[in-house]
Amino acid sequence: MNDTLANTEKKTAYILTLPAVLLVFSIILFPIFANIWISFKEVELKDIRIPEPRAKKIVKSISDEPTKIKILYKLRNSSLIQEIRDVSFQDNFPKNFEIKNLDPRCSFKKYNLKCEFGNWPAKYRENFQVIFATNDGSKIDKKNLKSIKPKLDGKSDNILLNTNFTLKNFKKVLFENEFIDLLLTTFYYTFFGTVGSIVFGILTAQMVNQKFYGRTFMRSVLLFPYVAPVVALAYTWELLLDPNSGTLNSLLLNYQIIETPINLLGQKYIEISILGFDFKLRLALTTVIMFEIWRYFPLAFLFILARLQAIPKELYEAADVDGASPFQKFFNITLPQITAVISILFMIRFIWNFNKFEDVFLLTGGASGTRTLPINVYQQGFAISDIGMGSAVSIVIVVLLLMFMFFYFKLLGKRVDEN
């Protein structure tokens, strides 16, 4: 009895979870494996369209002979690179039709025209013509004829499914693609974006955790950049930072802080000298990181604030009794209490910033030294149309992420053990 109950429970559970599991697996897990497959192939964007045999039907009446009609099929292979094999053709006609000239490749039975066209090479084109007449002398309705669409079928190779593999993509990614530069840019972007957003998150959380007028309003405002659509925000920033008519540059010029506009999103390096040391700052990358921090510190803020509000008040009261200063309280009570949350945030933000595509894409499109790995996936796959290369870069991203997660959990595991 118990056994059957457990069994029905199991069955129910599988029925309940199956739809979700199937969907997630087919849309998220399957593509990851498909990526591995594609990354070992030489595939370009144009290869992935399946070649189709196509026919455009043109109906022409023959002058002085209303009972006869000429039908022209413009046949073609939709693909410019692949052949289609065993093309078959079918079209239906009204019951009173008789065929006048039958092509040797075709047969006409039961008012159905069937043809076998054999193989069509790439770019193949043919004008195929048939003449019909009605056998009862009635007039021909051209519109009706046109509305019947011919059916075509054919076989073709799907480049994605054959088993020709190559290591070319990975060689290109790792050795010809300015890989080190790409990696460094991605790392700078990820690391400084993550650290910056956490630092600002701590500051704002600490701030909002105090009592002041308009505190709940402040909390909503702080989350605005995180909840608003990235497209709107990125274009607003672009407009603010524009070198020609952007508000920031206009303001700085107006107050005579700068003499010539700075192209914050379009200039790769800027020379800065501090205390006699000259160094080059990656300007566009810095701006993009600023945007990143601006957009994602609210998340850190939310997490840290939730943690701060859970710290027992007694701890601070005891510190007050001991005469601790505000900074002592912050460093000795608050900070130790939020380290766990910070380490989780660091991991989450690191992974997500590492994969961030939209922000950089919308702000700079990957130009002026802001090309990160995700941007490279897009550029290889869609701008250069090399799907195989794009997949190979994706695989590199996944491998790097797995490595990061491995080390992160190893370190974290150790720390937990020590405690």
Binding site: E9, K10, T12, A13, I15, L16, T17, A20, L23, V24, I27, I28, L29, P31, I32, N35, I38, V43, I48, R49, M207, Q210, M218, S220, V221, F224, V227, A228, P229, V230, V231, A232, Y235, T236, W237, L239, L240, T247, S250, L251, N254, W294, L299, F303, G323, S325, P326, F327, I348, I351, W352, N353, N355, F357, Y378, I387, S391, S394, I395, V398
Partner: protein, 397 residues
């Protein structure tokens, strides 16, 4: 000690005042006033004098009168002796000064002698400074987005710093950018598509997630722990690595440029977090209710629809709002899958608009306002639900 604190206090409060006045000046400049300098030196001297005078006078004058007097003196000097500016600017300066003198009124000469007062002063002013700084930094782009959408190309070329809105003009001229994007760029259609996609995603996600979350929360079955741990790991997987395979598969299946395609992808990407959030809540519902229902021979369908769903409306709403927001804001997949202007979502339409260098920026900003407003409205209105959603599902990038 007292001298050091006095100096520190007057310096910090002065810097705070400079910051306040500078923000006000930036905002005034953007209303088209010609202010070419922050006059930092003069404000610095005034600020220092005010804070020192405040300490010196102490309680001899009521703090309300003190604030008024200081503010008036400042406004008089700043407004009439240094710059000739409209009256609303001076009213603003007066209010800022009043706010400032009120803020410093709790510091007294005696108080500065207390232990840690250096740090207390620093902490207080850093908090104040932080509140204003972050409000400004966050709201400024939103403000610019809004005001730019009401300007015209010519007005912005004449004076790129004049963002004042002329409310006197005809409504049609004022909202011209909005009329244009709805008429010439079919934004009405894009709003409909975005809404259908977002609400559709919410409905399908909930349909799939509620039963799955119930199973994970309540039933015992082989692979349960594997399932619940893989949910979050899957969620961490980056969208960018899914793009190429999905693009190829969708191309071959003819799912690109279709709402169905977007719905499938959005649902799949939001499902893990929806399940995770819901199962956490379902676990908190007392089991006894279901046991009673099982005795009444209710099927699992009955249990879910008659007991679980009515009891978890708050959790379901927060999941729904969160999923709606993700779908509404989504950009990467809409960029990849949509290239026919007839099937664009709002985000994709704005990006398409910006691809044309000829597009005036006020149209772009009007579009941005149109896509941002619903989200901000929903966020402010349902903040309680959304914040819990954000914290629970915050792994979303």
């Amino acid at each position: 000690m007292r001298i050091k604190n006095t100096i520190l206090f007057s310096l910090i409060s002065t810097f705070f005042l400079i910051f306040l006045i500078s923000i006000w000046k930036i905002l005034a400049t953007l209303q088209g006033l010609s202010i070419n300098s922050f006059n930092i030196e003069i404000i610095f001297i005034f600020g220092l004098l005010i804070s020192l005078a405040h300490l010196g006078i102490g309680d001899r004058i009521k703090s309300f009168y003190k604030s008024i007097i200081f503010s008036l003196i400042f406004v008089f000097c700043d407004g009439y002796l240094i710059q000739k500016l409209p009256i609303w600017y001076n009213v603003g300066v007066f209010l800022i000064l009043y706010f400032f003198t009120n803020k410093i009124s709790k510091y007294t000469f005696i108080g500065l002698k207390e232990e840690h007062s250096t740090q207390v002063i620093l902490f207080d002013f850093l908090t104040l400074f932080g509140i204003l700084f972050f409000s400004f930094v966050i709201l400024f782009p939103f403000y610019m987005m809004l005001v730019t959408s009401f300007k015209t190309q010519i007005a912005l070329l004449v004076n790129p710093l004049d963002f004042s809105i002329n409310f006197g003009q005809d409504i049609k001229d004022l909202f011209k950018s909005y009329f244009v994007i709805f008429k010439s760029y079919k934004f009405g259609k894009y709003i409909v598509i975005s809404t259908i996609v977002s609400i559709g995603t919410v409905i399908i996600t909930l349909l799939f997630a509620i039963p799955a979350a119930y199973a994970v929360a309540r039933l015992n079955f082989f692979g349960k722990t594997f399932l619940s741990t893989s949910i979050l790991i899957i969620y961490m997987f980056p969208a960018i690595v899914l793009v190429i395979p999905l693009y190829t598969i969708f191309s071959q299946l003819g799912l690109r440029n279709s709402i169905e395609g977007l719905l499938i992808v959005y649902t799949a990407t939001t499902l893990p977090v929806a399940i995770y959030m819901l199962q956490g809540y379902f676990k908190s519902i007392p089991k006894e209710l279901e046991e009673a229902a099982i005795l009444d021979k209710l099927s699992w369908f009955g249990i879910i629809t008659k007991i679980i769903i009515p009891l978890s409306i708050p959790a379901i709403s927060s999941v729904a709002l969160y999923v709606f927001m993700i779908a509404w804001n989504e950009f990467l997949f809409s960029l990849m899958f949509l290239d026919n202007p007839n099937s664009f979502t709002l985000s994709r339409a704005i990006q398409y608009l910006s691809g044309d260098a000829e597009t005036p920026r006020q149209y772009l900003m009007a579009g941005s306002v149109v896509v941002t407003l619903p989200v901000l409205f929903i966020f402010v209105y349902f903040e309680k639900y959304l914040v819990s959603g954000l914290t629970a599902g915050s792994v979303k990038g």
